[in-house]
């Protein structure tokens, strides 16, 4: 039992870690998931009982698919037809399912992803074979990186021509294997019900993720002729739920003993619905709390304990707190390189508690002292019972000082509007009470910085993969999922135009999505790197854009162009008041960088702070530097 190298191997751990006394040395995550039996087995909830049944007899694969989607409580799906998936689309002709016809299969994938992030329900995509399926690879990878439940049903050529380079044939299971949690090529209609049941279980339980089911034409057209067993068969599939009680207690003890603890909350807290528990843990233990990009909304940023976002473009105060912490409690976060900066310099003083449902996330990049493997919500529920209130007066005062001294800031000194000011105007108009989606780049980081996030599932953004063009389709997905809520895509000009054809989808289904384009006629984040690290040689980053407002109008969507900085708030209010979809092209200052910024290869305390000045002098001395 003592063999796992969780606390032993210190290959890339900070030097200070190897010397500090560590009473948890003998524990491994093996013990984290080992015995303990306060909880009974909970089987995944399926929409219907399973077993040997004759209820599929006489039905075609396509009929079974549609029937089972409804049984799995699917109400909406996204996709695009084509030859190999026509049997399924024929069934869609008279189904109750709300089907959204997209303009490009990538859009369908991101819509399903946005739908899933807005609700927690799996997003459903139905596309054809070959190019239809390969166009979903980017959305699959996006969802895989961010652990989003999604199921793609793709058409495939008939089973007997597979491998013959048939028209619109592609080895879709081969292509998507590295970006799906599980994928299937259904070879016989008799297997279809079992596979659909398995797909839903795999996509939505444990660490969620995308699943692809490849459906050859003869599978969707053939009928089931005898009784079949649709019981899922997943002998290798484990999901951890409750953390090991001893590890939970050890974590709580470590937190109680800590002088300077910090909570570091990621997307897992959103996925498991742990926001209430996160707040309780922070408030009961009096522990400051920072979130990752995907964790935004898991902790109310108006709470005085909030440290907002951490990482490459996170708050300086969040990063300083992490670097100075003596105990870092990671909850559903995976120590991404955009969070940790240089691993050798990350959280040098901290003992690390890691709550995660995926054992392979534990000690993957940062050595963990107390691993708690399980569902974040359930683990925290247990942990809170052992947490004691501590005043932590000095620590909270220190953090308050940092917060006051190093706020997110910009100088409003250009003739054009500053992009940050536009986001502040949106924040003012909504109070953060909307669903926001973003593309990827500067606008995404400013949105993360200048919206005051307080509501779970209100931030929908591509974190791990960083997929430009994600904003518009994911906003459509979110709007379909929550038709009454205000959905705003905060986008960049370059990100927006990658998937802008989905404006036609918005028009077709009359979805009141708002799009705020921060238009600097540049790929802003790439420009920032070129400016900072490539001698301002702006190689292929300048964009010559269409008139986005006129473009929107041509789709039959209200388009507004906002050229003057003094009009920004007025236009934002107008956009939100407009009952239908609305695209606003905000012209904004080009020469603007996102600060703070951790240059790559540096520790997260070695941030470039922009206008708020320089780091506290003791930071580099205390935390070390490689420079």
């Amino acid at each position: 039992m003592s063999s796992t190298s969780l606390t032993g191997g210190a290959a890339s751990a900070p030097a200070s870690k190897t010397t500090k006394p560590n009473k948890t040395e003998k524990w491994t995550e093996a013990t984290a998931v080992a015995s303990g039996s306060e909880v009974s087995n909970e089987l995944p909830v399926l929409g219907h009982p399973t077993g040997l049944t004759d209820r599929y007899i006489g039905k075609t694969g396509a009929q079974i698919l549609l029937q089972m989607l409804l049984e799995h409580h699917v109400t909406d799906a996204f996709g695009y037809p084509g030859g190999a998936i026509l049997p399924t689309f024929d069934q869609l002709y008279d189904t109750k399912l709300n089907f959204i016809l997209v303009r490009h299969e990538q859009g369908a994938g991101h819509m399903a992803d946005g739908y899933a992030r807005a609700t927690g329900k799996p997003g459903i995509v139905i596309v054809t074979s070959g190019p239809g399926a390969t166009n979903t690879v980017t959305p699959l990878a996006t969802a895989y990186m961010d652990s989003i439940p999604m199921i793609v049903f793709s058409g495939q050529v008939r089973t007997y021509v597979i491998g013959n380079d048939a028209f619109q044939e592609a080895d879709v299971t081969g292509i998507t294997r590295p970006v799906t949690k599980r994928n299937y090529l259904v070879k016989n209609v008799k297997d279809l019900p079992r596979i659909i049941n398995e797909a839903f279980i795999i996509a939505t339980t444990g660490r969620p993720g995308p699943v692809l089911v490849d459906l050859p034409v003869d599978v969707t057209t053939n009928k089931v002729e005898s009784a079949i067993d649709d019981t899922p068969w997943l002998p290798g599939y484990k999901t951890y739920r409750l953390g090991h009680s001893r590890m939970v207690k050890a974590a709580a003890d470590m937190i109680n003993a800590a002088q300077r603890p910090v909570l570091y909350v990621g997307g897992g807290a959103i996925l498991s619905g742990a926001w209430k528990e996160v707040r309780e843990l922070a408030e009961k233990g009096n522990i400051p709390c920072t979130t990752t990009l995907l964790g935004l909304g898991a902790f109310d940023e108006n709470n005085p304990l909030s440290l907002h976002m951490l990482g490459m473009h996170g708050g300086a105060y969040a990063n300083y707190a992490v670097q100075d912490a003596d105990c870092l409690i990671a909850i559903g976060a995976r120590f991404d390189d955009r969070v940790t900066g240089n691993l050798k310099l990350f959280a040098p003083k901290a003992k690390i508690v890691h709550v995660d449902i995926d054992p392979s996330s534990i000690s993957k990049s940062v050595k963990v002292d107390v691993p708690v493997v399980g569902d974040a919500r359930l683990c925290l529920k247990d942990m809170i019972q052992h947490i004691e209130h501590r005043p932590r007066k000095e620590w909270l005062e220190q953090i308050a000082q940092w917060k006051a001294k190093y706020p997110f800031a910009y100088r409003d000194d250009s003739p054009l509007a500053k992009p940050q000011a536009i986001i502040e105007a949106i924040n003012k108009a909504t109070g953060g009470n909307a669903i926001f989606t973003t593309g990827v780049g500067q606008h995404q980081m400013w949105a993360a910085q200048f919206i005051r996030w307080s509501i779970p599932r209100s931030m929908i953004t591509s974190g791990g993969l960083g997929t430009m063009g994600y904003g518009l389709p994911s906003a459509i997905g979110a709007q379909v999922a929550r038709p009454k809520d205000l959905v705003i895509d905060i986008d960049g000009d370059a990100s927006f135009i990658m998937t802008a054809m989905e404006l036609a989808t918005i028009r077709q289904y009359k979805l009141p999505v708002k799009v705020a384009i921060l238009n600097n006629n540049f790929q802003g984040m790439v420009r920032q790197w070129q400016k900072m690290f490539y001698g301002s040689r702006f190689s292929n980053t300048e964009m010559v854009n269409p008139d986005f407002a006129a473009m929107a109008e041509s789709f039959g969507i209200r388009g507004i162009r906002c050229e003057k900085k003094e009009d920004v708030q007025k236009v934002v209010d107008e956009m939100i008041r407009h009952p239908g979809p609305c695209v606003v092209d905000f012209l904004c200052e080009t020469d603007e960088n996102v600060y703070p910024m951790v240059p790559s290869g540096k520790g997260i305390h070695e941030m470039e702070l922009g206008i708020v000045g320089s780091a506290p002098p003791n930071m580099a001395r205390d935390m070390g530097t490689l420079a």
């Binding site: 039992m1 063999s3 796992t4 190298s5 969780l6 032993g8 191997g9 290959a11 491994t28 995550e29 093996a30 998931v33 080992a34 015995s35 303990g36 039996s37 909880v39 009974s40 087995n41 909970e42 089987l43 995944p44 299971t173 081969g174 294997r177 590295p178 949690k181 599980r182 994928n183 090529l185 070879k187 016989n188 008799k190 297997d191 398995e198 279980i201 795999i202 339980t205 444990g206 067993d229 019981t231 899922p232 068969w233 997943l234 002998p235 290798g236 599939y237 484990k238 999901t239 951890y240 739920r241 409750l242 090991h244 995926d358 054992p359 392979s360 534990i362 000690s363 993957k364 399980g374």
Partner: protein
């Protein structure tokens, strides 16, 4: 360090590719990988030799276990085990060297499985080191062709069996896992046909 892992996997197309791809995608180093049938037609066993430090081995084990079609993973880092490699080697012979080679094969408890005028084939099994030593000894005679299976391994003692095997360290308590379907299902005839081994 060289480590042996075994993975019990679902016997269906794509699993080998998934495992092999995971190794390359994450930059893990495979020394050998052997796949073969088990006593259960639904399951195959992979024996994987990896070059890794302890920390990497831990990740390899966990990343393997994460693959949905991988049923159980076991590493033999701290348990006594038997490992075997099987080799066929074809050597050039002259009437003069033939008896020498047969003698060497006997010493290594190998078997001569084919004899011709100019060549002789030897079958030899054992631990990798033993096979390596034999190859070095016979190299001067001229190796015409050589094939090795790669390592398979099994723990000593009573523990084992494809169905109820537990990993040594990372054994989750059944009551703490969601097991979608605990009982093993008999495969239908169609499934057996549809899933060639490996």
């Amino acid at each position: 360090m060289r480590h042996i892992l075994t993975a019990l996997v679902m016997n269906e197309p794509g699993v080998l590719s998934h495992v092999a791809n995971m190794f390359s995608a994450r930059g893990f180093n495979i020394d050998s990988l052997v796949v073969g049938r088990t006593e259960d037609p639904n399951l195959s066993r992979m024996t994987i030799v990896v070059i890794a430090d302890e920390r990497t081995l831990d990740q390899v084990r966990k990343q393997l276990a994460k693959i949905v079609t991988v049923v159980k993973v076991r590493d033999y880092k701290d348990s006594p085990y038997v490992s075997r490699d099987l080799m066929l080697v074809k050597l050039g012979v002259t009437p003069r060297t033939r008896s020498e080679i047969i003698e060497l094969a006997d010493l290594f408890r190998g078997r001569v499985v084919d004899v011709g005028h100019q060549a002789i084939m030897v079958e030899l099994s054992g631990e990798e080191d033993k096979l390596d030593a034999f190859v070095e000894l016979v190299r001067p005679y001229g190796i015409r062709e050589l094939a090795r299976t790669g390592v398979i391994a099994m723990a000593r003692g009573v523990q084992g069996g494809s169905g109820d095997e537990q990993t040594m360290e990372n054994a989750p308590e059944p009551s703490r896992m969601v097991k979608a379907a605990a009982g093993k299902r008999q495969p239908t005839q169609a499934e057996l046909e549809a899933t060639p081994p490996g």
